[in-house]
Amino acid sequence: MKTGLRYSIEIDQNKCTGCQACVLACSYHHSRVFCLTNKSSIEIFRDNKNGNVEVSIDQSSCDMCLEEETPLCMQFCAIEAIKFIRKRKEMT
């Protein structure tokens, strides 16, 4: 078993205000368009009834905006709820 560094984007669900700016930034990164579909690696559901925000990131399509200095989603998060995570993980 080997170990190696793994990079990923994480969004703090408790901090997120549900504004969708990161979703659009991501759809722009992948396709140069704005939308809330699977053109974005991020999906956010704002539960207006209970005040919760549910966040999911498709890590397989997220390339962490390698050509950018900072991932675009982070650049457009007003409350800094998005973090660039580096973890040592087991690799098979």
Binding site: V33, L36, K49, F76
Partner: protein, 651 residues
């Protein structure tokens, strides 16, 4: 055209017919309030009652709606105003606007009347008219839940009316995403009159930009610029309730107290309603509207007391004023419940407060008694009574049926000297803070084409105490930051008339603009964003010209449909006769002589006639509004002097 969905839907509810036309047809008026006001002007005949099938109601997105531009999630609603019978425009936040655009439509033009209750489901370039008999009688929150269940999609965005809209209550509004209101002009009653319970949207489309990279670069710079301001830090910390609209963080700024009798509220009451207390006692999360870096919204749980278990997204400054200070009510729980009930019934807080505060005011003055109020003992600060009146108004029960007509008509109906305590502008109820002390603010409210409200020309520079240098630099008005000064305010308000129209045309929240902070989006920023998004080459001046044009179309609609003149731009009795009791602005009121001079300056800046307050032919020609000029000519509503001048010229 780039960054538009490309389609406009015309929906005739009488025939259940849908026709599609290209958005290109309305390019001249760009979008949002621009297209909305133009459509209302062009298509609603003077003879049409606002609640008749001849009136139309339009849902309008703007060229920036649905993009990464800050706070670009607004949806504009334009229709003929139920309270004033003039024009109405108002817009709401939430997520409906972008979703409608992603679903394929930039504008909806709804006319006619369905024979039975219906709702619209708009998705993926398609419009369905669905039966809504099972939803009739339900409140806004229930309606949204039922529609989501029925369509089996929790991501559907819903605009709905509550029972107030169904019962044609004058202050009925349209609620989006449960708690976002397009509040003005009784637009909820217009939907009710058409048997239209709701509009649901779901969109999976994408928006393409003309110049994506430049658009993103500019937005990146703008977000950074905004996030580096103290204004945004304050919003992040204190939310909407920390703004000057709710007396500021410490509650020491001008307020709206007891039917706008005063601007100073007793300290012990004020302190009970500070944002910090709401934060500690009820706040469970901070929320934002679509792509909004400001995040002024908060989610509350009420865990104890009479209304324990309540969960809601609240509490805006308007609500604080309307259901708190203006009713002299310092009970947090009652105000939060009033917030919920106004959302559920679908009623605009300003005009609802105006009629309830007036009723208490005239009852306390002995002008009405229990014979009129159905036995209700109307006391200031009675939270239970306020909630009871909400219900009586929404369902038009007894005394509530009179109040449901709005403060102007209710006072006219009851008479007995109650009329002079009715706080209204052009027939629309108002509830505003600091209106005696902040002269430009007051002028913007009185001259607003929709009948009061601070979303037309009312500037915020006085509340911000903008320095003379910055006032001069941005607006050409060195007195812009001096609340009690009348001079220069006519010019200032005329500037904001056209500037705020741009934000409403673009589809951006006014909180993200110069209105709140001059580091936020200004005319040239709007021009850059719109040019890069759509491909239209524009500068700030072009946009201000368009804003002026739209404002003049709205003014013309009022002249044609109601014939408002200079006298309709004057403040109500209480503001000129009763002065502020104490504090920084003690003794201030609106002085009629100075008001008239301010109006002169305002009309002159707009190139309107000083004597009548009407538009001149010259000003309409300069703006290229030839069709507007012809319509006014037909009914002979140009200033008399101008007519004579023309006759002489013809000879």
């Amino acid at each position: 055209m780039y960054n538009v969905a490309g389609k406009v839907a015309r929906i005739d509810l009488s025939n259940k017919a849908v026709a599609i036309e290209p958005t290109e047809n309305y390019k001249k008026f760009m979008g949002g309030r621009g297209v909305g006001s133009y459509l209302i002007f062009k298509e609603v005949p003077e003879s049409a009652h606002p609640l008749s099938s001849e009136n139309i109601i339009t849902f309008n997105t703007g060229p920036l709606t649905g993009t990464l531009s800050p706070s670009s999630g607004r949806i504009n609603i334009s229709t003929k105003n139920v309270a004033t019978h003039g024009i109405s425009f108002s817009n709401a936040g939430g997520y409906f606007g972008p979703e409608m655009k992603y679903a394929g439509f930039d504008h909806l033009i709804i006319k006619g009347k369905a024979d039975k209750p219906v709702y619209l489901f708009i998705h993926d370039n398609e419009i369905q008219i669905k039966q809504a008999e099972h939803l009739w009688g339900k409140d806004v929150w229930e309606t949204e839940e039922l529609i989501k269940e029925e369509l089996a999609d929790k991501k559907v965005r819903v605009a709905a009316i509550g029972q107030a809209g169904e019962n044609l209550v004058t202050m009925a509004c349209i609620m989006f995403d449960r708690s976002r209101a397009s509040g003005w002009g009784g637009c909820g009653a217009v939907m009710g009159s058409k048997n239209l319970k709701a509009v649901a949207v779901r969109g999976k489309g994408c928006l393409e930009l003309y110049h994506p990279k430049s658009f993103m670069d500019y937005n990146r710079m703008l977000w950074e610029r905004m996030l580096n301001t103290n204004t945004i830090r304050l919003f992040h910390e204190y939310g909407n309730l920390g703004t000057s609209g709710a007396g500021g963080i410490f509650g020491n700024l001008a307020q709206s107290v007891r039917n706008m009798e005063d601007e100073v509220w007793e300290a012990e009451k004020t302190l009970k309603l500070r944002e910090i207390i709401f934060k500690e006692k009820y706040e469970v999360g901070k929320l934002a509207d679509f792509t909004c870096p400001i995040n002024c919204s908060r989610f509350y749980h009420v865990r104890e007391g009479k209304f324990a278990g309540q969960k809601l997204e609240a509490l805006k400054t308007n609500v604080y004023r309307a259901f708190g200070t203006n009713i002299d009510l310092a009970s947090r729980e009652h105000i939060l419940m009033a917030n919920e009930m106004a959302d559920r019934y679908g009623m605009n807080c300003d005009s609802l407060s105006a009629v309830i505060a007036w009723a208490i005011d005239v009852y306390q003055r002995g002008l009405i008694d229990k014979n009129i109020t159905d036995g209700l003992d109307l006391q200031w600060g009675d939270g239970d009574m306020q909630l009871k009146l909400f219900e009586m108004i929404a369902f038009r029960k007894g005394f509530g049926d009179i109040l449901a007509q709005g403060v102007y008509r209710a006072s006219q109906k009851i008479g007995r000297g109650t009329e002079k305590y009715a706080m209204h502008v052009k027939g629309h109820g108002i509830c505003e803070q600091g209106i005696r002390s902040h002269k430009g603010w007051a002028l913007g409210i009185m001259t607003s084409p929709i009948g009061g409200g601070h979303l037309a020309g009312a500037p915020n520079t006085e509340q911000k105490r903008l320095s003379p240098e910055l006032g001069m630099y941005y607006f050409g008005v060195p007195t812009a930051g001096e609340p009690t000064v009348y001079e220069g305010k006519g010019k200032l308000v005329a500037w904001f008339d056209k500037y705020k129209a741009i934000a409403d045309i673009a589809g951006v929240c006014l909180f993200a603009t110069y209105w709140i902070d001059t580091s936020f989006i200004g005319p040239d920023d709007f021009a850059n964003l719109i040019s890069n998004a759509t491909g239209e080459k524009l500068n700030g001046k072009d946009l201000l010209y368009l804003g002026e044009k739209i404002f003049n179309i709205e003014k013309a609609f009022n002249t044609l449909h109601v014939g408002f003149t200079r006298k309709d731009d004057r403040p109500p009795y209480k503001l000129t006769e009763i002065s502020i009791s104490s504090g920084e602005f003690k003794g201030e009121k609106l002085l009629p002589g100075k008001w008239e001079k301010m109006l002169d300056e305002y009309y002159s800046t707009h190139h309107w006639d000083i004597k009548t307050g009407w538009q001149t032919k010259e000003c309409l020609v300069e703006l290229g509004l030839h069709d507007v000029k012809s319509r006014i000519e037909k009914v002979n509503k140009f200033p008399p002097g101008e007519k004579i001048k023309e006759k002489v010229a013809n000879k």
